[in-house]
């Protein structure tokens, strides 16, 4: 079982749609949860970063973590063509073998068409 599972998609939505991207993880030691965005032929860039269960909002983006079910979500409201990218969830653990290292999901390819 992969430590972080993410549906690779691809996901295609019309402009203005609400997008939901999801990951599950298996290691209870993971304490920090991130979403990276990667445009085509570029390196990933940090989009959102959360620590505890609950929601964190930044403009059109909302990150949600449910530690009880080990579920991570990213919601994009009013999606734009410029949101077309690969979205990677990532987790970081504070102890044991996961310390100091990010574990990434497979990435979801998102296309927002005009």
């Amino acid at each position: 079982q992969k430590e972080v599972e993410q549906d690779p998609g691809p996901l295609s939505v019309p402009e203005g749609a609400i997008v939901s991207l999801n990951c599950t993880y298996s290691n209870s030691a993971f304490q920090y949860f991130m979403w990276y965005r990667q445009y085509s032929r570029k390196g990933p860039e940090l989009l959102m970063y959360t620590y505890s269960s609950g929601n964190k909002e930044d403009g059109r983006f909302t990150a949600q973590v449910d530690k009880s079910s080990k579920y991570i979500s990213l919601f994009i409201r009013d999606s734009q063509p410029s949101d077309s990218a690969t979205y990677l969830c990532a987790t970081w653990g504070a102890g044991g073998t996961s310390y100091g290292k990010l574990t990434f999901g497979q990435g979801t390819i998102l296309t927002v068409h005009p």
Binding site: V4, R41, Y49, Y51, W92, Y99, G100, Q106, G107
Partner: protein, 113 residues
Amino acid sequence: NAGVTQTPKFRILKIGQSMTLQCTQDMNHNYMYWYRQDPGMGLKLIYYSVGAGITDKGEVPNGYNVSRSTTEDFPLRLELAAPSQTSVYFCASREGGGAGEQFFGPGTRLTVL
């Protein structure tokens, strides 16, 4: 600041050849990482370093070697290239041991034929 830079951008190798992928960061970060990214597979950690002179294996280290003689540089060495090493390679750095942001380079696209 240039951030994390990688060279070369592209490379084609023949089976059995060797090469070094260069990575340099100018942010004075202690932690540096090498990942490979295959289609639909996310990022797999190859090696990482927590400071000059200290390196450790990640998830997929076989066929690779690293060194960290300075804070700025973290080269990745492929000794005997194999088709399975065809991938996009990303170098990343982070300031400290906490869950801070990792900054990625633009990647090196490597094809082994």
